[in-house]
Subunit: 305 residues, 2 copies
Amino acid sequence: MNKTETLDTHLGIAAVERDTGLPKDTLRVWERRYGFPQPSRDAHGERLYPREQVDKLRLIRRLLDQGKRPSKIVTASTDELTRMLGEERNDITNAAPGAAQEALLPLLRGHNSPEVRAVLQQILLKQGLQRFVADTVAPLNVAVGDAWLRGEIDVPGEHLYTEQIHNLLRSAIGARTGPLGHPRILLTTFPNEQHSLGLLMVEAMLTPEGAHCVSLGTQTPLADICNTAAAGSFDIVALSFSAAFPARQAVDSLNELRRLLPPRIAVWAGGAAMRGQERKLPDVRVLASLDQTVEALAEWRRAHA
Amino acid sequence: MNKTETLDTHLGIAAVERDTGLPKDTLRVWERRYGFPQPSRDAHGERLYPREQVDKLRLIRRLLDQGKRPSKIVTASTDELTRMLGEERNDITNAAPGAAQEALLPLLRGHNSPEVRAVLQQILLKQGLQRFVADTVAPLNVAVGDAWLRGEIDVPGEHLYTEQIHNLLRSAIGARTGPLGHPRILLTTFPNEQHSLGLLMVEAMLTPEGAHCVSLGTQTPLADICNTAAAGSFDIVALSFSAAFPARQAVDSLNELRRLLPPRIAVWAGGAAMRGQERKLPDVRVLASLDQTVEALAEWRRAHA
DNA sequence: GATGCGAATTGTCCAGGACAAATACGATGA
DNA sequence: TCATCGTATTTGTCCTGGACAATTCGCATC
């Protein structure tokens, strides 16, 4: 009672959903509307997707994440798709030259985890935790994400990077001793946001400043955030949003959260999805960069001296 | 174009799939056949599941994972279900009476993060990393999961627990110095498996033994696992499965992975979803407990001496 | 440039039927 | 009593084709 892989070269619809992240319903409706994908059928009329079509679906998925529209890309040829992906590369690579990434990307491609760790560790020691996070990790995240997008590193390479950064930051934060004071800051993300690296980076920026950060991890329901913030006598609730998070939903949820929380608790929001949303969030402190977290902390302390 | 949560008390079918792990098709066919769940409808005829029915579905999911048959449990009352679950629980709770959990659960209810951390840290120091993971963290995971299921702790409480364990284990693993030798072990999970705690626990068991663990984090596609394992000259690929992971899918994917990898690379699989799957996995080393990871490592070394 | 509004696009849901894999059950033989 | 085998039931997943609301586009207006 279980389909998934049928032959080596053909996958069932469930397997394709798993591999590409495109829901079954979407795969069927694309076939109906655009004529692609066009899977063959087994003896019972069930769809069997050839590997090449699955590969193309993965390309489409990448472009979709970049904001392209399905009608423009689903019907395009594989060549056109790879060309489009190539164009994206230029825009971004120019924008973020970066220094460490040139050393790191080849290591990630080779899955050389000890070296990756060593290189990062060395930079961390030289720069100190806060500069490391703001000046190295933040641009590296962009560079690694881009490299993945244009296929220069694979999923394991990206995982390896994330994993090592996690390790490093957690150890560094954990190594800090001394009393934790004020303000008390609650860190988390909304449901549907799975990226925890942003939270960790904020924690790494604020803990050395003597703030008392408590991270709830990712995906905390709105109502639970409110209860915890109130019950734990927190001063600030800080939310993190990756680029993948729909901005509209973020704005709505943030305003709702602001409405539910007592006014004495501040709401901070940061991350890629927050770009240009300041106007729509009158009572939320939008943090455009990691350095602004430190600024915001200083402001809060001045206001509550 | 995004449904999920509609009101606080009612969830759309996609949200229920996400929360319970039961596919949309299954939810609909149960409704047709057994009359449960019986969601209300919104203005457009779309299903809206009340929270209590979702809770009951979670209970059902648990019992299903234990091998109960749907026809016996889908129509049963919530009371009967909790009773059934209670019977099962006795087996487990008796086996691991647990000392820490009585101290910890109230702290989690109160979101008292400094105390949670302090208590765990103390136990870790007393027991050492490996005993801590096997004897304390493992039963605690079950206890916390159950407490959440029964509504005794809330989402932030659970997050807080996970977060603190993560911090502790990462620091402890990171603190280890000395050369890392053989075997080289690749740790990860399949797509759809988001729980990273299991990976970290395995890493904590094996690193003190001198094994060279590399974790790719969660959700690595099958093909990528194969490539990395081969390219990085790994000796063992270890996969972790939480109770929420569908056992059938796990078995299929594992056998597929086993087929794709060269025979010299061993495949290990552990976690709650692996209970009783040994027969179906002839060429995979199924780890029923954390202590078995150490045993398996010793075996591997004997065989490759 | 920013804002507003109709039109096109697009993802997700629905119903109800079908079927094969998994499992239970009963009969048979050691 | 226990193992094996064939049949009946259970159960998850897939199918078609229709529908519709949320999002985005294109264009006109302020």
